[in-house]
């Protein structure tokens, strides 16, 4: 994965994975995990990558292990998970760039962020990056997105419950 890009992980699957990882404490083999979940390593990869990027799992030499925060995610309810996710996600480059743009405007066209990705990300991947950013940003309550007008929308911080 190129530096700074988001892995395309559906969040429901990611949290499912964290729960499964928490069921078997200590480092374990990735192949065995994939086998137990009846998942191809290719399908597992973006999820593992997301867990690593968020600081919830360590991966080395084909083994994985949950970090302390990862353990906390596994036992938290939705609100707790959201809080941890939010803090981690707001610092990721593409999310931070959207938040930065929204600091100066209540709505920012998708095209503006697409242009920032363009020099280093191929067009199709740029679209996927934007879609994943929308999904993660919404789940973290960091920003909203208007698909009709194709623009990111600022949400007020006091939406945080």
């Amino acid at each position: 994965m190129s530096a700074g890009l988001l892995p395309h992980a559906a969040l429901g699957r990611l949290f499912g994975l964290i729960e499964v990882m928490a069921d078997t404490p200590g480092p374990d083999d990735l192949f065995r995990l994939a086998d137990r979940l009846r998942l191809q390593l290719d399908d597992l990869h973006p999820l593992i990558e997301a867990a690593r990027l968020l600081g919830w799992a360590r991966v080395a030499h084909g083994d994985y292990d949950l970090t302390e925060e990862g353990q906390r995610v596994a036992t938290s309810d939705v609100a707790g998970r959201k809080a941890l996710f939010r803090e981690r996600v707001r610092g990721l480059p593409i999310i931070a760039s959207i938040l930065g743009a929204l600091a100066g405007a209540s709505a920012v066209p998708r095209e503006t962020i697409r242009k920032k990705l363009r020099p280093r990300v191929p067009p199709q991947e740029a679209e996927r990056q934007l879609d994943t950013a929308v999904n993660w940003g919404r789940w973290a309550d960091l920003f909203d997105y208007d698909a009709d007008d194709a623009c990111f929308i600022r949400v007020e911080e006091d939406r945080e419950a």
Binding site: L39, N135, R138
Partner: protein
């Protein structure tokens, strides 16, 4: 024992002369998660639709909240395997739609819909179209839409079957938690599933069916402590027993 919320007595169903269900009798008790499990063709999804009043029984009696059922059952709301969201409506609008049919004014509809989405962890996705959502998120919208109607009994028709294993696992736990949540009015659910493991993991009682024609073999109480763990040894005897009954 408190009055059953839904009561089936000798319910049968025929389509064009073919017998789909024969003499089905059981109660749905307040506060329970009741699972209907059986091989495909045992009529369990048909039975769920009979309980919802979407299709009539050919024989026998269905009572809901003490009243003989005729037409749509106002005490129930259904969650579908296929999610059944309207693609041109945003998530909150999909959730609020049944309330419109119930004559709830627009501002209250939206407030309730956003509250339910919040409980499902999807507050930030209220303005997302279904195509912008993952499968797990779509089904969360489907569940929010059903719970928004505050049914006495939530009817779940294979709600996790279209989802991958990881997504399904977190959503099962979320449904169990929601039915205990003081912010949710509904306490009782009927789950149709072809997965014995899922039935045992989630339910307080499991109704085991055989096919051709669909009929009840036995109602098995799952008196394993909660919270349960998927694949835990404590659940194995129940799983084995149910497989034994159905085959």
């Amino acid at each position: 024992m408190p009055e059953p919320l839904i009561s089936l007595v000798g319910v049968g169903k025929r389509y064009d002369g073919a017998e789909v269900l024969r003499e089905v009798s059981f109660d749905v008790r307040p506060g329970e998660m009741l699972a209907l499990v059986g091989p495909s063709g045992c009529g369990k999804s048909t039975l769920l639709r009979i309980m919802a009043g979407l299709i009539p029984a050919s024989s026998g009696e269905v009572r809901s909240n003490g009243r003989l059922l005729s037409g749509l059952n106002p005490d129930t709301a259904m969650v579908f395997q296929s999610f059944a969201l309207l693609p041109w409506l945003k998530a909150a609008e999909n959730v609020a739609l049944p309330l419109e049919a119930h004559g709830v004014p627009a501002p209250e509809r939206l407030r309730k819909a956003e509250h339910l989405l919040d409980l499902m962890g999807l507050r930030g996705h209220a303005r997302a179209y279904p195509r912008e959502l993952s499968g797990g998120m779509r089904q969360r919208v489907g569940i929010a839409r059903a719970l928004c109607q505050e049914p006495r009994v939530l009817l779940l028709d294979e709600p996790f079957s279209a989802l991958d294993a990881l997504t399904a696992q977190t959503l099962r736990d979320q449904v169990i938690d929601l039915l205990q949540d003081p912010a949710v009015a509904t306490r009782t659910a009927v789950l149709v599933t072809h997965s014995v493991e899922e039935a045992v993991y989630m339910a307080d009682r499991v109704v085991a069916f055989q096919a051709n024609p669909g009929r009840v073999v036995e109602v098995v109480p799952i008196d394993a402590p909660r919270p349960r763990r998927w694949g835990s040894p404590a659940l194995v005897p129940f799983v084995d027993r149910l497989y034994g009954l159905m085959t």
